[in-house]
Symmetry: C2
Subunit: 255 residues, 2 copies
């Protein structure tokens, strides 16, 4: 990443506009699997496969945030960032984002032990999620914070998802989607902070380019999880032999 390869220094506002453009181009809202999920084109087994695999991402979010927290020298910064861990872990057993995701997998009829164990995951899920953890450990704090900026684009996809899933799937209830309702308020708070941090601290052209690359990387983490799901459970529908097999596996309704 040589300095001469970096674009020129831009204003913080211009940087924000470029980051939003990256999301418009690379966020997983543009992935074919999400179109199928939101449009009701998946069967129950395929939605189960999505929820089971996505649990690995949910499970690792506090590990990712703890790795970032462990690199923050400033108590004021840590006080803000720790809220992400509290949101996901809750204050007691059965509370928080991870527990809410397990309510969704329960509601979809998945065995909780199977989901929690991770043993039926697709390899592509595991590799993408763990790449994210390694990234925030190995890169600069600025890049680690920038990689969280996909939250900027979350509210739109969450609204589409909740609306689409409730309309199309009789096996999905509003209550089972409680995770997403919480994220609708948490994500903007988190991304507002991270965006402000990045705009203030990316004060050289090279740092700005690292920020853009961090967001592209994070988009690719989300995107490639859907590649793996689509390959294994939609077309050609050949799952890694040790991966989850839906009990009611059959062709998608209209895919």
């Amino acid at each position: 990443m040589s300095a001469e390869a970096s674009p020129a220094l831009v204003s913080p506002e211009q940087l924000e506009a470029e980051l939003r453009d990256i999301g418009a181009r690379l966020y997983h809202s543009r992935h074919p699997f999400h179109a199928l999920l939101h449009a009701g084109k998946l069967n129950r087994g395929q939605v189960q496969a999505w929820a089971l695999n996505r649990f690995e991402y949910q499970r690792c979010i506090p590990l990712k945030d703890a790795a970032i927290l462990a690199r923050m020298d400033d108590p004021a910064l840590r006080r803000i960032w720790r809220q992400r861990i509290i949101d996901h872990d809750g204050s007691a057993e059965g509370e928080g984002g991870i527990a809410r995701w397990l309510h969704l997998t329960d509601a979809l009829g998945l065995d909780r032990e199977l989901v929690s164990s991770g043993r039926a995951l697709l390899p592509g899920t595991r590799f993408a999620v763990h790449a994210y953890i390694h990234f925030v450990r190995d890169r600069s704090l600025l890049e680690a914070i920038a990689s969280s900026l996909t939250e900027l684009f979350a509210p739109t996809i969450i609204s589409e998802r909740v609306t689409g899933m409730l309309r199309h799937y009789d096996f999905v209830s509003r209550e089972s989607l409680a995770y997403f309702e919480h994220r609708l308020t948490e994500a903007p708070r988190d991304s507002d902070f991270a965006l402000d941090y990045v705009k203030r601290h990316a004060d050289t052209a090279e740092k700005q380019e690292l920020v853009r690359a961090a967001l592209r990387f994070k988009c690719s983490v989300l995107w490639s999880q859907l590649d793996a799901l689509h390959f294994a459970y939609v077309e050609p529908g050949v799952a890694w032999p040790d991966a989850f097999v839906p009990a009611d596996a059959h062709a998608a309704a209209a895919a």
Copy 2:
């Protein structure tokens, strides 16, 4: 990985038989993408995408082996293991396995700078390959060595690949496949050593189970790279927006 969850201690010969069973079940020779590749069902652009992405794996093999070498206390062991690095890096510019892979990508008409830069990779390729490097750094030396045992199954797939590609693709020459000819002698030598090491050092039921898990993990590293290729370049053929776009992109001949 609790001791009571592990199967009972088995003989070294039984362990070997179980490892060969894992390969028969999970090695990527069973992946749909390989069936298409070997049967001549891919077009030139799809073969280019395979070679370009697979280069990331080739590029990282010496990094993986150096990470293992760096954890070997025994000079006798290091003298044997270092040969793997020599095989891939060669003794001069233009020699060795990495250079031979670049001869293949050259022969396929790929720009060498594009291939070497890695900027057109699929995210799934990168995440799987780097998971392998992290694995050999983080796990025990026994697990790191066991993860190399996919070489046991390489000669068969290489023979199928060379025969199939030469028969079906007029853009592939025997000379461009020189990488594989070398691997036909290197892989058995390497896997004989690793298998013997594993059979001698996995002397508890728990270590044997770690060895089996390491081989399953490595199979999943190879498998998920093909998931990503198939999704992006075969069906539905939607590549990550920053990934390689074949110049002659069109539908597969008969897929």
